[in-house]
Symmetry: C2
Subunit: 423 residues, 2 copies
Amino acid sequence: MPKSRPKNAFYAQSGGVTAVINASASGVIETARKHKNKIGKVYAGRNGIIGALTEDLIDTSRETPRAIAALRHTPSGAFGSCRYKLKSLEENRREYQRLIEVFAAHDIGYFFYNGGGDSADTCLKVSQLSETMGYPIQAIHVPKTVDNDLPITDNCPGFGSVAKYIAVSTREASFDVASMAKTSTKVFIIEVMGRHAGWIAAAGGLASSADTEIPILILFPEVRFDRKKFMQKVDQLVKKHGYVSVVVSEGVKGPDDKFLSDQGLKDAFGHAQLGGVAPVVANMVKQDLDLKYHWAVADYLQRAARHIASKTDVDQAYAVGRQAVRMALKGDNAVMPAIKRVSNQPYKWKIEKAPLHKVANVEKMMPKNFITRDGFGITDKCREYLTPLIKGEDYPPYKNGMPQYIRLKNAPVKKKLKSRFTP
Amino acid sequence: MPKSRPKNAFYAQSGGVTAVINASASGVIETARKHKNKIGKVYAGRNGIIGALTEDLIDTSRETPRAIAALRHTPSGAFGSCRYKLKSLEENRREYQRLIEVFAAHDIGYFFYNGGGDSADTCLKVSQLSETMGYPIQAIHVPKTVDNDLPITDNCPGFGSVAKYIAVSTREASFDVASMAKTSTKVFIIEVMGRHAGWIAAAGGLASSADTEIPILILFPEVRFDRKKFMQKVDQLVKKHGYVSVVVSEGVKGPDDKFLSDQGLKDAFGHAQLGGVAPVVANMVKQDLDLKYHWAVADYLQRAARHIASKTDVDQAYAVGRQAVRMALKGDNAVMPAIKRVSNQPYKWKIEKAPLHKVANVEKMMPKNFITRDGFGITDKCREYLTPLIKGEDYPPYKNGMPQYIRLKNAPVKKKLKSRFTP
C-alpha cells in the first residue's frame, strides 16, 4: 500500500506585529521540519490571510535552517502581516470557498494563524471548514498581541517585550529628568500603546522599584481622566521629588468620553490636525502649572524593539509556535496553546490547550485590583504579575554596531489556480 | 618641611545629560583616587556650576569604589546638571568672586567641567581666574554633547550612543512598517534631536546598510524643507518599496525660515499648542498623498538609552574623564581632552590635548559632503565617519528584567561659608 503524502501546512501572521512574532514562526517551522513524515511543507501567507485568498504563498522550505533560526531574534512579521478579518460564513461565503480552493490546490491540511483576538476569530472560522464546507483541516491559533488581551492564556507573547521596553525607557528618561529638574524639565510624559486596556501603561510602573524609586503617574484607559486631580498629583510629586514622569496610554478618555488625544487641533489654515495624547497632556501641564515639560511618543519603537526584548517573552513566543505544531500532530483542531503560570517565585510556566471558541472575540481587561485606589499607579498584585514577563535579556547578534535581523528569501509557491481573487 | 596637603578637585556636569556622561565622571573620580598624593578629594557640584555658586558640594569620597564603577553604566547626570552659563567677567564679576570664595574655602585647585560648547566657555573663564582674579586653579574641560558639535575633537562623547539608538530604532520600526504596509501604515516618521546640526538625524541613515537596505528619507536642519520635493520622494519610495521611513530633525525649517514644528496649532479654545515636528510632517503626508502614517518622538529616550549604548562611546567617555585628570596632574590648564581618529578600518582613536580657547563658542557643523545631493540622505563619507562611533555593545547589569543603574549617596560637604548666594 503506498504511503499517503503528508499534508502541507499554512502559516500566517496577522494584525499588528511584535518584537517576537517571528520567534513563533521559528517555533512553528522548526518543529514542522522535525516531523516531515506528518507535515509536508510549511507555506506562509504573504501578508497574512490575504496571501491565502490571493494564492500568494511563500515556500518556507527554501529557507536555510540558519535563516529560520534567525527569525527568533528578528522583530516584525517576516512574511508580512495584514489587518483583515474574515466575515462570517453567512456574510461572505465567497471568501471561505476561495480558501478551500487554495488549500486544496496546495494540499494544505494544517492552518496556523498567528495573531490576536480578531485573528482567533478567523482561525475559529477556518477550523469549522470541515464541518461547514466539508474540507478537512486542522486550525490552530498561535497567540500574539502586545495588547495582552487574549483570555485563558496568562499573558500574550509580544506583550512582555513591549512591557520591558516601556519600563526600561521610563526608568532611563526619569533618570535624565531627575538630573535636569533643578533648572529645566520637571515633567516628562511618555505616550504608550493600548487603546482599550492599560496593560502597557501599567508596565511603565515597573520603572520604579523598591531599590530604585521613581515618582510616576500612570494615565490608564480604564480610568476617566480627571484634570484637576491629575494636576494636584503632578504638583505634589514635583514639590516632593523635583520632577515626575507620566506614562499615558493612547486610549485615555476625558470626562466627555472622547479620546483625550482628540482635541480638535487646527493649523493656521484651519485644517484639522491629528496629534498624540502626550502633547495634549503636556500642554495642560503648561497651562495649569506652568512647569517645564518634555514628551515622547514611543509608537512603533515600543513593539519593534527586539534589541531589548524580554527573554521570557522570546521563549514563550517560540514555545507557543512549537506547541501549536505538536497539537496539530496530535490531531487537535480549533485550539490555541495558552500560557499557564505555575509559580511566581521562581517564575514557572507551561503550555496548555485552550479551546478556540472560548478565546475568539473575548477581550481580557486588566483586573480592577491591578490599579491603585487613586487611579494613577499599579498595585503590588499587578507588579507581581508583570515582573516575570519582562525578565531576562535575549540580545540579537550585532555587526558594525547594528543588530543583524534576517530577511528571508520569501520565494513564492507556484500558483496552481487560474482564477484570481480580490479580497 | 611638612608636605603640603594636595588640593581638592571640583567636578560638575553641565547642560543636557547623556547616556554616558557618568562614564566620564567615573573616569575622573577613579583616576583622581589613584593619585591621592596630588589630588585630595573630588567634590562634585550639585546641579552643575550652581552647586559651586551655592556651596552645595557633594563629597564623592563617601562613595564606594563599586558605586563609582557603576557610574560607567548609568545614564543621566548622577550629581545633577544645569543649564546655566556664566556671564563674562565684566558683566558679572560677582559670580567669579563667589566661585573663588567657595573654591578657597574648600581648598579646590582643580576644576573639571563636563559639558558642551557653552560649558567649554564657562570652563575657559574659570581657567583664567589665576590671571584675572589671582586665584590659582587648573581648569580642564571634559567634552560631552549628544549634538556632536564641539570642534577639534573628532566626535563628542554622548553622541555615539544617541546615534546607535536612532539607527537601531529606525531599523526596527522600518521592519515593522514593512510588514504592515500592505494593508496599513506606509509612512513612518521618527523625530530626533538636533536643533542646529543634523548629526543625530544622519545616524538614522545607518538603519539602512548594504546587507539590510531600507528606504529612508532624512530631513536635516541644514536643508530647507521643500514640501513638493519631499512628497515626490515619499511617493516614489512608497511606490517602489511599499513603505518609507522618515527621520526628521526637530530643527528642520520651512521656506519661511521658521521651525517646521511651529505651525501655530490652536486647540478648540484657541489656545496655542506646542507640538513636535513629526506630527506636522505626518499631517502633510496625509494631506498631500493620503497615505497611512505613524509617527514617533524619541525625545529624552534617545539620549538616556544606556541599555543600547555604543561601546565606543562608553569607552571614549571614560577615557576623556581619565585623561582630563592626567592632564591636570601634568600641570595643564585651559585644555580639553579631544578624540583623534587614527584609522577607520580597524577603527583606532587616541586622546589629544586641545586648547580650550579654540573650543569655546565654536560650533562644528556637519560637512556639506555628508549629505547627499538630493538633500535627503547620507553619503558614504558620512557613513564612514559614523559607523565606528556606534560600534560595540556595552550592556548594563540587569535584575528582575530591569537595568541596575546606580544612585549615589550624594552626601553634602559641610558648608564653610556664612554668606549665601542666589545665582
